[in-house]
């Protein structure tokens, strides 16, 4: 002990034994301490990067310009109103230098071109991270004190979603994520409040289960609940991973709870069903595939996703229900998106036979259920309430639960300390959200959230959309937020309105902001077409665009219905921009027509997209113009030629900026193309 203490005490004596020496040494220590701060500054990372930048710039052709732009010292972008204090540009020196496109390493890369500048919104708005930090580590990673690591590039579009509430052309991933939240029923259980008031709405209503016993069997319900995707690969219903006994009880309850709808079943139709080729061609002519998909032999889904997949429809529906549904779907479901085709009895029988044949003999082979007991039915009911089935489905006697699942309005700002991660998972918010979507029950087997079968791309899109739901989005100053356009609840009035909802026109066409985008917007249809053509088209809808796969089906409308609809469209759906009578439909001079022809074929090369002469023209993009003089009004043609986007925003027809005279001559040429036009279009 003593011997080891000895060197220290002698050292102490030599240093501080003499007061003068002691003073000198203390001063020296003080000086060193004082020098630490400037030295730290001198050797700081940002200074190192700034020096590196100047070194890199020196050897470049535009060195002088770059050196002139360079500003030494800590740089800062400060916007207190949106919580931005970003010093990132202290190291990321070349962000704004357009000439640095060839620089491939950080921190000197030029920022990719985006619609905003860094000065406008800073960096952390989109990239997250700690803007105020001045070291690489603190700025980019999450530490105990700083919680916000840099956001991986795959979720970058979440930044846009903080201000932009509507779909943006340049953010397909964010748009997809939001669409999935609405389509897959996420927002039915989790409420997501929007900053501009209101909540995110579901876009697909799951079918009502109140009358399900009319439509299908208990066996089908069992197989479906066990694995919805085994029935239809594209089903949006998730898998609740239920035990067989629980499924038995739920199916028992749903059947017992079902009450019939008058008229939603029909006795067999006496007409003999035609052969199967007639069924396939009726299915084709009716353009069922525009909305319904069917798996083909190669296992690929072919068709639209407005209605349910029909690959195994024969396993699901009872024949008497299917028959009545094909006859008039509105009896069973007044709000369905499916049109009421006015099929003849023969056609109903043909379609029924065709659809019932779409079945898989193995599908229900292993489902054997004994008659249900009252206990099972009661247990089924409690399960239905426990799993929140009525969040999505209407079920007689069970109310839609409120706040069934955690609200996700601010999920994108959730603090890491509040999250429970799986072992081996990296501790970041995006990983947590993506993990929850990928395998919710992995976090705890007792959780109710069901298992979806999303692809990697879909999970990324959903995570992106959820990350945009954060504190900043909620508190964005109104001057910066770009609200979604008001959703339109437009309903046409009167008799025509009834026919239009019976035909479900809005499933495909938009009018006054409401409706689908599968078919042309009809808001100004009355200014655009001639009445006779419209009536003929209802009677026999040919196609105008040879390359289109989805087309207008034939509804077998009565003459009276056709004239009611035509009256309504011709008078109500008119543009305020011009009068449809302002130009004559015919009577143009031969020279004017000839001039128009020259312009069409030579100057403007319209034949690259349109067909006027079916023998020589081949253009396949725009509508066929054979017979256009009997289809469109001259005033519409003229104004369309002058500015197509003014009449139909977003149309791909380019604006040619042509003079009034040229537009008049072209109108003359096009209006001279009389005839039905449909024969050529069939080609």
């Amino acid at each position: 002990m003593q011997s080891s203490n000895q060197p220290w005490s002698s050292l102490w004596k030599t240093l501080f034994g003499d007061p003068l020496r002691a003073f000198g040494i203390v001063s020296a220590i003080l000086l060193v301490l004082l020098a630490i701060a400037p030295a730290k500054n001198h050797f700081s990372e940002w200074r190192h990067y700034q020096k590196g930048y100047l070194r890199m710039v020196r050897s470049r052709g535009e060195a002088v310009t770059l050196q002139r732009h360079f500003q030494p010292g800590i740089q800062q972008i400060w916007h207190p109103d949106i919580g931005v204090t970003d010093r990132c540009t202290s190291c990321h020196v070349g962000l704004k230098e357009a000439s640095l496109t060839d620089v491939k390493f950080q921190p000197y890369r030029k920022h990719p071109v985006i619609p905003h500048t860094t000065e406008q919104y800073g960096c952390v708005m989109c990239h997250r991270g700690q803007g105020a930090a001045t070291t690489v580590e603190e700025a980019h990673s999450s530490t105990l004190a700083w919680e916000q690591p840099i956001l991986p590039a795959r979720y970058i579009e979440s930044g846009c979603g903080q201000c932009h509430r509507a779909n943006l052309e340049g953010t397909p991933q964010l748009n997809q994520g939001r669409a999935l939240l609405a389509r897959y029923g996420c927002v039915q259980c989790h409420s997501i409040k929007l900053p501009d008031a209101g909540v995110m709405q579901a876009t697909q209503d799951a079918p009502s289960l109140s009358h399900i016993a009319d439509k299908t069997t208990r066996e089908w319900i069992f197989a479906w609940l066990k694995d919805p995707q085994s029935y239809a690969a594209s089903a949006t219903m998730p898998n609740f991973k239920l035990k067989d006994d629980d499924i038995r009880d739920i199916s028992a309850f749903l059947i017992a709870n079902s009450n019939p709808v008058a008229g939603d079943t029909l006795p067999p139709i006496s007409q003999k069903a035609a052969d199967s080729t007639a069924g396939a061609s009726l299915y084709g002519e009716s353009f069922c595939a525009s909305c319904h998909a069917v798996q083909n032999a190669a296992g690929n889904l072919v068709g639209g996703n407005v209605g349910p997949e029909l690959t195994r429809i024969g396993n699901k529906t009872k024949p008497e229900w299917l028959r009545a549904w094909i006859h008039n779907p509105r009896v069973y479901d007044p709000g369905t998106q499916m049109p009421h085709y006015r099929f003849s009895d023969q056609q109903v029988a043909t379609m029924e036979g065709f659809l019932l044949a779409k079945s898989d003999s193995d599908f229900l082979a292993n489902v054997h259920l004994d008659p249900a007991t009252p206990e099972q039915i009661a247990h089924g009911k409690s399960l239905v309430m426990e799993y929140g089935c009525s969040s999505c489905h209407e079920i007689t006697g069970i109310k839609k639960p409120e706040n069934f699942a955690p609200e996700l309005t601010r999920i994108g700002s959730k603090s890491i300390s509040q999250l429970i991660f799986l072992p081996g998972m990296s501790h970041t918010l995006p990983d947590y959200i993506a993990g929850k979507i990928r395998q919710p029950r992995a976090f705890s087997p007792g959780l109710k959230m069901p298992q979806y079968s999303f692809t990697l791309t879909q999970i990324d899109a959903l995570t992106t959309a959820l990350l945009a739901q954060n504190d900043r989005a909620q508190s964005m100053p109104p001057s910066l937020s770009v609200p979604a356009p008001q959703t339109s609840h437009y309903r046409p009035a009167g008799k025509a309105g009834q026919i239009m909802s019976d035909l479900a026109c809005f499933s495909c066409h938009a009018i006054n902001g409401r409706g689908g985008d599968m078919a042309p917007d009809l808001t100004w249809e009355g200014s655009s077409v001639q009445r006779k053509w419209l009536e003929d088209f209802f009677r026999n809808p040919g196609t105008l665009r040879p390359a289109l796969i989805r087309r207008m089906p034939k509804f077998n409308l009565s003459n009276e219905e056709i004239s009611t609809l035509s009256d309504y469209i011709m008078t109500v759906y008119q543009t305020p921009e011009f009068d449809r009578e302002s130009l004559p439909e015919s009577g143009y001079s031969a020279t004017q027509v000839e001039e128009g022809k020259q312009l069409f074929y030579s100057k403007y090369g319209c034949q690259s997209c349109h067909i006027v002469d079916a023998k020589s023209d081949k253009g396949y993009i725009g509508p066929t113009l054979t017979g256009v003089g009997s289809r469109l009004t001259a005033a519409w043609v003229y104004h369309w030629l002058k500015n197509p986007q003014a009449l139909r925003p977003g149309t791909v027809e380019p604006n040619r900026n042509m003079s009034d005279d040229e537009a008049k001559s072209l109108t003359a040429f096009l209006m001279a193309q009389k005839g039905s036009g449909t024969k050529e279009a069939k080609k």
Partner: protein
Amino acid sequence: MMTKRIPLAVIVLCLVVCALMLAASGCARQSASAAGPAPTAYGSAIVESSGGKQIGAAGSALPQPLVVQVNDDQGNAVTGAAVTFSGPSGVSFDPPTGLTDSSGQLSASVSLGGMAGRYQLVASTMTKAQKRVEIKSEEIALDYQRRLGQLLDDKYCSRCHNPESTSERVSNFDNLEVKPHAFTEGDTLNKMSDADLLAIISHGGPALNKSPLMPPYGYTLSKTEMQALIAYIRMISDPPYQAPGMVYAQK
């Protein structure tokens, strides 16, 4: 004697610890890359089955997986060969290694790095003689501007400029008397300057004494949109486009 021996011992100890740490870290790195299932068979060649030359968004998963196949000398597929995927920093593979399936293939979903550009991916396998054989595939990651360009191309241009039809879109290429070039045809498009491209896109074919079948878009698209199209065309061209002045800058 004693006082002198202690520091020496300390130094030796330090050195030993350092050496151990280095060795340990080295080992860790090695074992990480060699991890993966042990092969049950060996091939002699590796080829790409599908998934090369895709265009994706920077940082995101590519639309299609990368599928490679291991073959033996006779060109027959080999089951159970070990394949390792690798790429530049930022690229991730799921799974990064694995054994080929019964058709001799291994498929991995690929996420590209956060920076736009061309990414060269490598899939490799070992032959029986422990020789490494590999196949390279190139993928392209788009940033915001180029992705906007891609979307505009899909909407306005590809019907004429892309000779391939898809189930959603019938190509108009065959119907045109004068054939346009696909935007990947670098041999032609790389010879045109940015100003040329802007001229033909905004004023149509006649602006460059070409056919009026190429319509003008100057009154339909904004300057930003046309620039996005040009940036996209430059990015996907094959062979790659070299901006003038870049050669100088690199020297």
